[in-house]
Symmetry: D2
Subunit: 290 residues, 4 copies
């Protein structure tokens, strides 16, 4: 098992992750302004050009970089070139990152490091989906002037986020309808006590007009203008799918409908949990590769 | 069945109630600034001294009055003396209000009207508790930097709000503990899959120190300084009980604990539902007295 | 706290109760054939006329007696006159029993004992209701040739058993309708995500004809012949109310409907839990009276 | 869309399927004794050698054959050679069956028919898992002398049956632990509010000794003698995995443990639902191939 971790860059998820790793390991942090890291067990590196220790594991943020050359450091005034980080890892050490591009992967692999993308792990995706679903519920509670209990909810898609949403909503007395394409997804909807609708029938059913809230989880255009026209004017639409999303937000606004695009929810609404999820995923990877 | 309603004063719950009653009845509204009432089926009375029609039913707000003499009109620039409203009801008509004082009740009864306090109705209390529980969950989602799923929740009391909270939380994978005084309440906790704790054992158990969120629903001091000292510093406390509440907020702040007093949640977080609840309660009263 | 208990008579609930009490106390048992009491920590009294010790607490069965004079001992070949049991309790000792008649209460009170009826305790009623609801679900699973998931369930009444049934059924994807008389009960139905129906509207709604399973919990005649005629021929009816019950079983059979009277379910389907419930109730009583 | 179906052989699921298909299609049935088919809309073929019509679709049972040459007809006194059924389908017609062997598939394909195995469909597997989970709960309710509520449940595996079991158990106040091998399965356990345990840690944790009920869903040996020795003597074990199953039943009995092998539950406990599931799967296949 490794002993020394360096967490370099990222948002509140990663400052939280550093603090959590410090319960078990020696942890250095870089790419954060002073005051961001609250745990006194984490050593903040002030001058990365000089003080950088060689860690067993380097944890890079999600995404690792926004421009392909410098580290993604939203909580840091300075700039850290990715190449500088090659000195941050011991020989044969391990590098973790999220959404690692092929170019960045090459840089670290060429230096002899093992490279893992925690975002590709299924357990990370599952627990992220749960945090996303909670964030989506929070938006719904905030935006709706009425209780969620008793409302008609339509969920587009039946992947991880949809399943987490169904689970969370099960304590509210909602009527939940799942619109999906695969018959097996509709079978799961039945198992989870939802009404089911083949997505091709959206136009012909009354599901849209009856819905009080619509959550989209499908990352391709579903609610186009023709379908939006069937929605109730008081309906709240929340698009949880990554870009380009599945709701034509412009068309919705043109029709006077309330449509919200909610991206990267876990990082915003539950950074501590998100940090824990990334940390646990990293530990799972280490367990499996030992 | 009555045909004409006048809704006089109140907050967004009552403007919404007016709009909802207008689906079935002729509805006048008074005590609202122009623009507040959105439904074009509701007739807004501009000059209450002149244009006031005689309604079968007069609906007064919650509370009816803050000073004992003038109507509670938070959405109106002017002032309406309660006595003016005696002209707003037909002979033998009915007056509804919330938290009606004996004095105000006398004024209307002396004029020959039937007077009902919708706040005294059990169905109103039950549905208000559900809306309160949703509001409390919204606060928890907003204030916690982690997911609710997986947290240890302690609920003080086992009345209507507690039962609604348990129900809503059942879809989150929380571990919920109920602390209550009556053995029958602890039995209900068992039915609803919660851990149970006699409230007298709070000091000696680890329930407080293990809790991530504590909801108080008991309207008498429970979490005093001695008990607060046992709470985890990262714990979030939400006091849902009416004043004086059950958490010593000052002591909590002194100890660096996060404690929130959340009053009148349904009116704030779910005014449309609250309006519907009041409307349905009024219709139930009318059904029973016919 | 008392130290010595004698459990006298009763069914498997009471043999189980004796074994459970023996974890904490010295326990004697009487009114059971050899072999019924499995715990070696319980001392079975063979000759009650000679070997009867004086206990701090005497636990009598539910009901205490079927004929008013001898102990209710379904698991015992012999007969035990109630009066013989006066010698089984210490001076100032305590007697517990279920459904104690005034006459029997007098016998023991006249001898100077405190007498408590555990059946009158609310926590006992609540947990019994949960066990009853589980037994009712078991019957439904056994009698229905289809899954419970996806069925339309109608529950008559909204008391303890109904609330437990709703809770248990919440994991199945059923559509549950509550028919009740009180508006506050219908409000609770809404909180628990059920459809609601005033019981006076049963005749005019399609709730009966659409139901796959009907559970009655109301102890007065609800489903008379006129209403039974509206039920679907494949519907399963389970009457959980104490006699005379709320379903006209004869009329149902005449109409070719499947109607089951299910009485005393906890004692039959969950004797161990029932014993535990009685034991905990007795301990609560002792806690309160100390 | 096809118009004429022949349902040939099978158990009560298939007699029920025939009746259900008759709501929409012309349906013949063969391979059933008189009196088995209750629906008067289904035409029973008495002499299959003479009266066999040419159907658009032939529905064969699950499994199609037990000996490779004759139809599986548990509800029929006679024997039907599979080859006879080649005359039961129109030119270019379609044949459906469950667990079709390569040999049997060849026979029908050689005759020019399209052949589909409904058991290979994911939606069929999902809904079968739900029916299996209900059957497993029924066994647990029948075998346990206590309520399911409040018990510690251990589920081995996190596939379709486990997910359905979790869902059904969510209304009971159980503490459910999932033991699985994949980290993503453990993540799902967290989403569904369960405790999680890597299956490799079974031997070292107290999960086995604390469990009141263990459901196995893994089709390979998990609970061998060494692990069984850690189980509580009052524990009930239900093996839901297809042969050879995952519990060493002989070893369990040798240790005095209650272990039940529960195979083909949906066909036994919910034949009507099973028939509907097969029917819907067949209709899905027809929809997709049109």
């Amino acid at each position: 098992m490794p002993k020394i971790f360096t967490v370099a860059g990222g948002d509140m998820r990663f400052s939280s992750l550093a603090a959590q790793l410090a319960d078990e390991f020696t942890v250095y942090a870089a790419g954060f302004d002073p005051g961001i890291i609250k745990s006194h067990r984490v050593t903040l590196i002030n001058d990365i050009t000089k003080d950088l220790p060689e860690a067993d594991c380097l944890v890079l943020p999600l995404p690792v970089s926004n421009d392909g050359s410098s580290l993604n450091t939203p909580l840091y005034e300075g700039t850290i070139p990715l190449e500088l980080l090659l000195k941050a890892v011991k020989k044969n050490g391990t590098v973790f990152g999220g959404k690692i591009s092929e170019d960045i992967r090459s840089i670290f692999e060429a230096a002899g490091f093992k490279v893992f993308d925690y975002l590709e792990r299924e357990e990370m995706a599952v627990l992220n989906a749960l945090a996303t679903a909670e964030g989506a519920l929070q938006i719904a509670l905030e935006k709706q002037p009425c209780t969620i209990s008793g409302q008609n909810i339509l969920i587009l898609g039946m992947g991880r986020i949809a399943k987490s949403l169904i689970r969370i909503l099960s304590g509210f007395g909602c009527s939940v309808t799942i619109a999906a394409r695969k018959y097996s997804d509709l079978a799961w909807a039945e198992v989870y006590g939802c009404k089911e609708l083949h997505i091709s029938e959206l136009l012909y059913s009354d599901a849209l007009s009856k819905s009080d809230i619509i959550f989209n989880t499908v990352p391709s255009m579903i609610l186009n203008k023709a379908l939006l026209k069937k929605c109730n004017v008081s309906c709240l639409m929340i698009d949880l799918a990554s870009k380009p999303g599945g709701i034509d937000i412009n068309a919705a606004e043109g029709l006077g409908l309330r449509a919200v695009r909610a991206l990267s929810l876990p990082g915003k609404t539950a950074p501590v949990s998100s940090g824990r999820i990334i940390g646990n995923t990293i530990k799972n990877i280490l367990n499996e590769t030992e």
